[in-house]
C-alpha cells in the first residue's frame, strides 16, 4: 500500500524533477561552452536583433498603455482621499520595480521565446541538431549560447525603455488628460524614485531573460515526435517561462527589496 502510494507520487514528480535537472545542466554547459572559442559574434548579434530590436514595438505599446492605465486608476482612486499628487510616484515605482521587467519578460517570452522553442524543436525533429553534431559543432554552443546571451542582455535594455515609456504614459494621462500639475508629477516621480528601484528591476530582467531563454531552448532541444511535438514544446516553453517569471518575481522581490 505504502509502496504503491510512493510509486504513484513518484510517477508524477519524476518528469518535473528530471526536467529541472536537465535545465540546470543546460545552464552549466551553456556557461562552460560560452567561454570556449570560436565566438559566434554574428549569430549572437542576429539573436539580439530578434530578441531585442524586433520586440521593441510591442514592448513600447504595452509599456505606454500600462503607464497610462496605472495613472488613470491610481489618480481616480487616490483622489478619494486627496492623494492624487502621488500618482507620479506610484507609476514610477510600479514600472521600475515590477511592471517594467515582468511585462517585458512576458512579451519577449511570447514573441522570441516561443520562436526559440519552435525553431529548435523543428531542428530537433528534422535531425538538423544531429547534423550540427556530425559537422563537429556543439549544438549548445551554436544554438543555446546566442539565445541565452541575447535574453540575458537584451531584457534589461528593453526594461529600461519600458520604464521610461511607462512613466511618460503616466505623465500623458495625469497631466494632459486629467489636468493635474506637471510639476507635481515630475517632482513626485524623481523625489521618491531611488536608483535601487531601477537596479533591482534590471536584476530581475536579467534573471527573467536568462531563465526564459534556457527554458525555451531546453523545450526545443528535447522535442520529440514531429509537428505535434514542436507544438507541445512551444506551448510548454511559454507556459513554464510565464510561471517561472511570475513565481520567481515574488522571491526576487523579497530578496531585492528587503
Amino acid at each position: 500500500m505504502i509502496v504503491r502510494a510512493i510509486e504513484y507520487i513518484g510517477s508524477y514528480i519524476k518528469g518535473p524533477v528530471e526536467m529541472i535537472g536537465q535545465i540546470i545542466m543546460l545552464f552549466f554547459s551553456t556557461l562552460r561552452v560560452m567561454l570556449i572559442p570560436p565566438f559566434d559574434v554574428r549569430i549572437i548579434l542576429k539573436q539580439m536583433l530578434e530578441v531585442g530590436v524586433r520586440s521593441l514595438p510591442v514592448v513600447l505599446i504595452t509599456a505606454v498603455f500600462t503607464g497610462m492605465v496605472l495613472a488613470l486608476q491610481s489618480y481616480t482612486g487616490f483622489k478619494r482621499f486627496g492623494a492624487e499628487g502621488l500618482v507620479g510616484t506610484i507609476v514610477a515605482l510600479s514600472m521600475t520595480r515590477e511592471l517594467g521587467p515582468v511585462l517585458t519578460a512576458l512579451i519577449v517570452t511570447g514573441r522570441a521565446g516561443a520562436a526559440m522553442a519552435a525553431e529548435l524543436g523543428t531542428m530537433r525533429v528534422t535531425e538538423q541538431i544531429d547534423a550540427l553534431e556530425t559537422l563537429a559543432t556543439n549544438p549548445v554552443k551554436y544554438l543555446v549560447v546566442p539565445r541565452f546571451l541575447s535574453g540575458t542582455v537584451m531584457l534589461p535594455f528593453l526594461t529600461v525603455i519600458s520604464d521610461i515609456v511607462g512613466i511618460i504614459g503616466g505623465y500623458i494621462v495625469t497631466v494632459t488628460i486629467l489636468g493635474a500639475s506637471s510639476t507635481t508629477y515630475m517632482r513626485t516621480t524623481w523625489d521618491y524614485l531611488e536608483m535601487q528601484d531601477i537596479y533591482a528591476g534590471l536584476i530581475k530582467a536579467c534573471f527573467f531573460g536568462a531563465s526564459m531563454a534556457l527554458i525555451c531552448c531546453h523545450k526545443g532541444f528535447y522535442t520529440k515526435g514531429g509537428a505535434e511535438g514542436v507544438g507541445k514544446a512551444t506551448t510548454g516553453a511559454v507556459v513554464l517561462s510565464f510561471m517561472t517569471i511570475l513565481i520567481s518575481d515574488y522571491f526576487l522581490s523579497v530578496w531585492l527589496f528587503k
Binding site: 528534422t126 535531425e127 538538423q128 544531429d130 547534423a131 559537422l135 563537429a136 515526435g225
Partner: protein
Amino acid sequence: MIELIDLHKSFGKLQVLKGVDLKIEAGESVVVIGGSGSGKSVLLKHIIGLLRPDKGSVMVDGLDIAEIDKKHLSDVRKKFGMLFQSAALFDSMPVWENVGFGLRRHTHLSDQEIKDISTQKLKMVGLVGINDIMPSELSGGMRKRVGLARAIAMEPEILLYDEPTTGLDPIMADAINDLIIDMREKLNVTSISITHDMASAYKIADRIAMLYNGVIIGTGTPEEIKNTSDPFIKQFITGSASGPITLEGTQYENRA
C-alpha cells in the same frame, strides 16, 4: 577501420541492439540492411557518436568513441561526413552556407573561398547555380545532393548514408547510387550505408550485413547475399511477407 564490438543499446525497456559485431575495413563500402524499426538508424548513430552504447565499443581507427570525451569526439567527427535520410539541411541558411558550414566553423577561409568550395562540391554532386537558393525551394533529390555536398565538403575519410534512396523516385534513387559509387572512387572514402532498398544495396555495396533482432545475422558480398540459404536474409531480400521474420518491433524506429 571501424569496428563495432558487442554493441548493446536499449531505450527504456526496449532492447534495440543486442550485441552487434561488425568490422568495416578502410576504403570498403558496407551496407547494413534490415527492416523498418530493426535498429539500423540507431546503429549508424552509434558509429558517429550521436548515441552512446549501454555496453560495447565503437572503435574508429583504434579509438573507442564510446569512451572519449566531447572534445575528442568532436575531433573524431571531422573524419566523418553524414548524409541524413531527410538531408537535414539548415533551413535558415542558403545552400552555399549549408555546404560550407563545416568549413566556416573549423577553418579561417573567407566567405568567397567557402562559396567557391561550395560551388565545386555542388558540381561534384551534379548541381550548378543553386548557391544562393534556400533549402525550402529544393526538391527531395536536390536536397539529398546538397546534403551529400555538405557531407563531403570537409573531405572526410568516412561517409555515412542514412537511407540514401528512401523517398526518391527510382531514377533519382539510381542517380544517388551512382553518386555514392562516384564519391568512393573519387574521394577514396570508407562508406557505411543503411537501407532497405535492395537494388541500392546490391549496387553500392562491397559487403552487405543484415541486422535482425538486434544482431548482425549474416554478412557477405552482394553475390553471396543473393545466393544465401539463410531463411531470414532470403525472406528480406526477396521482400516476402511470409517467412521466419515477424513484423514485431516496428516501434523501434521512433525511439531512434
